[in-house]
Every structure is written in C-alpha cells, then in structure tokens.
C-alpha cells in the first residue's frame, strides 16, 4: 500500500463521507491540506469565504437546506477563533457541521507558538464533540467519527483540530466508516408504555394542541407529523426553526409560537387540555414566563435528547426517541377524531391579528414602505416556493412571519444564538446546498454590514442569491425595545449607512433601491428576473415595530399589538 500524508487522508475521508463542498480559508497551519486540495479540486469543491465566521455560517446554511453535514476548513489561531460564533450557533440550533481546524505542530503545543490557541479548550463547551489529531494514523478514524456524531441523534457541530505534523506525516490509509460508539446511543429505543400513555391522553383530549419544532425536520418526519395531526385532528403551531415542516396553507397549521408569534397559538397554549411538543425545547422565546405557561394542560414531550425533558417545563409524558418513529407509533394507537369547535376557536384570534397587526403591515394607509409588505410580496412573487434566509432582528421576525412556505427545509435563520451577520454567509451555503431553488435573503442594514465581505465570495462563486435589504438606518429590534421599554432613549442604535448600490456594483452584483410602494412590484420582478445575485435595497419605515410582541419574561397570553 502506498503511504499518503495525513492531509491526503483527511481529504479522502471527507470524500468517502460524501462531502462535495467545503467552505474554508487557508492559513499557515492548514497549508499542507490546501496543497493536497490542489490535486483534489475536481472531487471536492472549495468555496473561499472572506472570513472564517462566514465559512461556518455558510456550512450551516448548506446543512440546514440539504440535511447533509456542512464542512468548514480553517487554519489555527485566529482562523479557529473566528469560527466560534458559527460553532456556538450550530450547537444551539442542532445543525450538523464538521469544522476542521489546522493546529501548530504537536511538539509546539502548549508553548504559545505562533498562531497557537487552545482550540479544544475553547470549543468543548459549544460542540457535540471535539478532538485533536496528533498522528496521521488517527485522521481517518477521527474524521469519520466526527461525521457520525455530527449527523446522528440530535445533530450538532464537531471540531477536529489537526496538528501540522499529523498533516504531513505519512500513513497507510484505510477508511472504515464509524457507525457505532459504545458510549453513544443516537437513536434511543422507544418505550411503548410511554407511547401508549401519550396516545391515551390524545385520544381523550378535547382541546389538543401540537407544538412543532425543528426536530420534525431533522428527523424527516414531515409526513408522519401530517398523518398524526390529521388522524387526531390536532391544530398545530411551530417554533421559528420548525417553520416549513408544515406548509403554510395546511388546514391545521395555525402559525408560529412565541415572542413574535401569532396570537392564536400563544393564547391556545394556555387553553388547550393536552399539549403535544414534538422536537422542540421550550425555549424562553417560545414560553415567556414559565410560571404562567400551559399550567392547565397535560404535556406530552417527544424528543430525541433526554436532557431536554423537564429542563424548562415539567412534562407529564416523556417520549424519548426519534420524532419519525415516535409519531408513527403514537399515530397507530390514535382513534380518528374531530375537534371542529376547538379548531374554529382559533379564527377570532386570527381575525383580530389580521385587523390589528397584519393589515397595518400589508396594506398601510400611508406611503411609507413596511417591512412586512416587502417580505410578503417577495414570497408571493416566488410562488411561495423559495428558501427564506434571514439575518437577526426585525428583518428576521418580519421575514419568518410574512414569508409563506410550501416545502420543508425552507427557513434558514439563526434561532438559539441570534447571530447578527448570519444571513449573508448562510445564504451562500443555502444556494450551494439547493442550487435549483430560489434563495431569498432578508437582512437589515446592521447585520449586512457585519459580514458584508462575503459579497466577495458570492462574486467569485458566481452565485444567484436574491438579497433584500430592509433598510431603516437603525438597529431596529434594539430600537423597538428602547421605544417600548426604555423611554425612547435611542442609545447607539441610529446608523449612518453607506450608499449600498455602489458597494453592490463594486462586487459586480445587480442592485436597485426603492422608497415607494409603487416601485415594489417592479423592483421584485427585476430582482427575480436578474441572472445572478441582486441586492434590492428597500427603504422602510424608520420606526417600524414587530407585533405582536410578548415582552421578555411576560406571559405568552399578554401580547402587545
């Protein structure tokens, strides 16, 4: 057998694991890997980002849209520390990602060598697994184990830190996929007693209500969820990351939960008699004040992660397992039911929300553009088939509220960590992961400028992304809190912005800006017809606010609107 270097073993293992695309940035302690990559460029696409944070967010966008593991490749020291935000983001949002970091040669470890940083120490709290490779012989095993851990059970990010001497050392290469780890059980066996208890509660429920989380998408349980809801006639609402697991126009889909969710789902959480949470983790943005959350209901929690049970909300029935299998087994035991009156009771809330919130956002009386109407018009112009990518803040809440979804894996947004700057690089990964789909990014003027340099990546890769900048010259979400809760003291939220059109032009990206409603439809058409990436700058209402809103720590039934 011919000996190969650890670097080549790394690339061969990535290919063996089915990797087609790597987002990365070379540097001193990754040069041997990049040198071998030169010979492998027809087998492995490398997307050169403009900052390592962008590599992780792009890998996240790629993973979220495709269901495959996203891969980032960076150098040691600053290269590695720049990936931290993306790794933490992927950890909180259960995104399968493998980050390969270069590291100083192992004899120099612990000597404060040039560009040395304790990658293991820094990343352990924010990874599902982290491992340092010091011998070329460990490369294939560690990388394969990384993919197994990242993609199975509750997915998450894994870091593989490869010392430079391990990259250069020669090794007899043999690849054996890791598909068993004795200390790790990714898919727990179902407990049929719990399944029966859950089914019995649902069968006897008069006002059942389901909460749909990203777990449904991650487990590919969209169809099982629909069968389950249809059979027992259970209305459902989703968390932000769970959006698009059910199509927007599905009769039992009652919208989104939480701080900026829909009025009906929030109120009904505190009126239902049985609450069925599927693959969601009762985040504080979903529950509001826990002391007033669903106290009247029996709660059934389906999750693959045992540590989520009773973490925030005490539940009555814990169904540990993969959502797909759990839903299928519970559905088998369900009696067909109808809950006509209960489902109809959502309608007054929907009408109230339309009258007091949605109408003002979609058909305002004055001339100023609203964020919501821009989002809805773009969604409609794509036939509600596009992938929605958002940044964080008002653009995100308006994006997820007013966009419509017709297929799964259509929402790419930073949920748990709330990372401003996520949007632009994530849209790069989303487009590469779903080249056949239209990708629409909604971003604010603050977040766009956090990772603006990734326009260079878009230019080099000749991607086709539709970027809609909702520009209000403010850090809008913070401004909203300042207006509502801090006596309108707008501390450090006003932004003097550059002229974005020449910036887009400089990156050879199509661009247009609009101020008026009359321009909107035509501008959207121009953007969607344009071949390649297009930046549409929509100058929107300066003091726009996202409603309804549950103030932080408040009860979910006490919404401002």
């Amino acid at each position: 057998m011919d000996k190969i270097t650890g670097s080549e073993a790394l690339l061969r293992t990535l290919i063996a694991e089915g990797v087609e695309c790597v987002f990365g940035y070379p540097g001193g302690q990754a040069i041997p890997i990049y040198d071998i990559l030169y010979d492998y460029k027809d087998k492995l696409r490398h997307v050169l980002v403009r900052h390592e944070q962008g590599a992780t967010h792009a890998a996240q966008g790629y993973a979220r849209v495709s269901g495959k593991v996203g891969v980032a490749l960076v150098t040691s020291g600053p290269g590695a520390t720049n990936t931290i935000t993306g790794i933490a983001d992927a950890m909180l949002d259960s995104t399968p990602m493998v980050v390969v970091t270069g590291q100083v040669p192992s004899p120099l470890l612990g000597t404060d060598a040039f560009q040395e940083v304790d990658v293991m120490g820094i990343t352990l709290p924010i990874t599902k697994w982290a491992y340092q490779v010091r011998h070329a012989g460990d490369v294939a095993w560690a990388v394969s184990r990384a993919f197994y851990i990242a993609s199975t059970g509750r997915p998450g990010p894994v870091v593989i830190d490869v010392a430079k001497d391990a990259q250069l050392e020669l090794v007899d290469y043999s690849y054996e996929p890791v598909n068993f780890i004795r200390s790790y059980q990714p898919w727990p066996d179902l407990n049929h007693e719990r399944i029966e208890e859950a089914a019995e509660l649902i069968n006897n429920a008069e006002r059942p209500f389901a909460l749909v989380g990203q777990g449904v998408t991650l487990s590919g349980a969209e169809e099982e969820l629909k069968c389950f809801l249809d059979r027992a006639d259970v209305p459902a609402a989703s968390t932000m990351l769970g959006l698009s697991a059910m199509p927007s126009d599905y009769r039992l889909n009652k919208g989104m939960l939480g701080m900026h969710g829909n009025i009906g789902p929030n109120r009904k959480t505190n009126e239902c008699d049985v609450l069925i949470a599927v693959g969601m983790r009762f985040d504080d943005r979903v529950t509001g004040n826990l002391n007033t959350y669903a106290k009247q209901a029996k709660i059934i929690h389906l999750d693959i992660d045992n540590s989520e049970f009773d973490k925030n909300v005490k539940v009555d029935v814990k169904v540990l397992g993969d959502a797909k299998a759990s839903l299928r087994e519970i559905t088998k035991l369900l009696k067909p039911a109808t809950h006509k009156e209960w489902i109809a009771s959502f309608t007054p809330d929907e009408e109230e929300e339309y009258e007091k919130v949605i109408k003002k956002e979609l058909c305002p009386g004055d001339a100023v553009l609203r964020m919501g109407e821009v989002v809805r018009k773009v969604s409609e112009a794509t036939g509600n088939k596009a992938v929605l990518v958002t940044d964080v803040g008002q653009n995100q809440m308006m994006g997820v509220r007013y966009f419509k979804y017709s297929q799964t894996r259509s929402v790419i947004t930073s949920g748990g960590l709330g990372t401003m700057g996520f949007g632009l690089p994530a849209s790069i990964g989303a487009k590469i992961g779903a080249p056949g789909r239209t990708v629409c990014l909604f971003v604010g003027d603050g977040g766009l400028q956090m990772t603006l340099q990734e326009l260079g990546t878009i230019m080099q890769e000749k991607l086709d992304i539709k970027i809609i900048l909702l520009n209000n010259n403010y850090l809008g979400m913070v401004r909203q809190w300042q207006e509502l809760f801090f006596h309108k003291r707008y501390s450090c939220t006003n932004m003097e912005n550059p002229d974005f059109i020449p910036i887009a032009k400089a990156f050879r990206i199509g661009a247009r800006e609009i101020w008026k409603r009359e321009e909107l439809e035509h501008a959207i058409k121009e953007m969607l017809d344009y071949e390649g990436t297009f930046l549409l700058v929509a100058h929107v209402e300066e003091n726009g606010k996202v409603y309804p809103m549950v103030p932080a720590g408040g009860s979910i039934t006490e919404m401002l609107y």
Binding site: L124, P125, W129, A130, Y131, S183, Y184, S307, K311
Partner: protein, 107 residues
C-alpha cells in the same frame, strides 16, 4: 458558597479514556455555578473505562439536569447521582453481600 438548604450529592461517571474529558465534565459544573467539593478519578475495573467520583452541594432538580447533561456527552458511558444516605446504605449492602457467600461456604 452558601450550602444552606443544599444537599451533598455524589455523582459517579464512567467514561472513555479520552484527552479533555475532565475538562468536558467540569465546564458543565462551571456553567451552572456549582463548586466541586471533592473529585476522584481512577481507572475502573473495566479496562479502558475511567471512573469519576464527584461531590457537590446542590438541590436535586439542579443535580438531575446536571447529570443528564453529563450523560449526554458522547464519550461518557454513564452518569448518575446519589445522596450520602443512599451511598451509606449501598456500602452496607456491599459488605453484606461479600460476607454472605463466605459464611455460606463454611457452614
């Protein structure tokens, strides 16, 4: 640390022998502001498996969550907890168990 209204719990962890495992364990305590009172690490009776014995003052709800977080780590085989009283009882049982066969054999 104010240990009033808190119980001393003993947490037992069995893990693979990997670099950084102690670090993985202690950050889970740190994040919840729990002080480790005592810590004992040794190879277990099973080759390749290490045993951690950790004591800490906390309330039971916190310990339950903490142990679940420990158990979740990929390279941890098993994590569980006991109070001091439970452990004393367990040790008594162990003594009884070891004595019994001997006396039976001699009778």
């Amino acid at each position: 640390m104010n240990t009033e209204n808190k119980t001393l719990f003993t947490i037992i962890i069995f893990s693979e022998n990997m670099v950084g495992l102690l670090n993985q364990i202690t950050i889970i305590f740190t994040r919840r502001q729990l002080n480790i009172e005592t810590l004992f690490v040794s190879p277990s009776t099973i080759a390749g498996v290490h045993k951690f014995t950790i004591t800490t003052f906390a309330d039971e709800a916190t310990i339950e969550k903490l142990v679940k977080q420990l158990d979740k780590r990929v390279d941890i085989l098993k994590a569980y907890y006991n109070t001091d009283e439970e452990l004393a009882e367990q040790e008594m049982n162990n003594i009884l168990l070891t004595i019994k066969p001997k006396s039976n054999g001699n009778d």
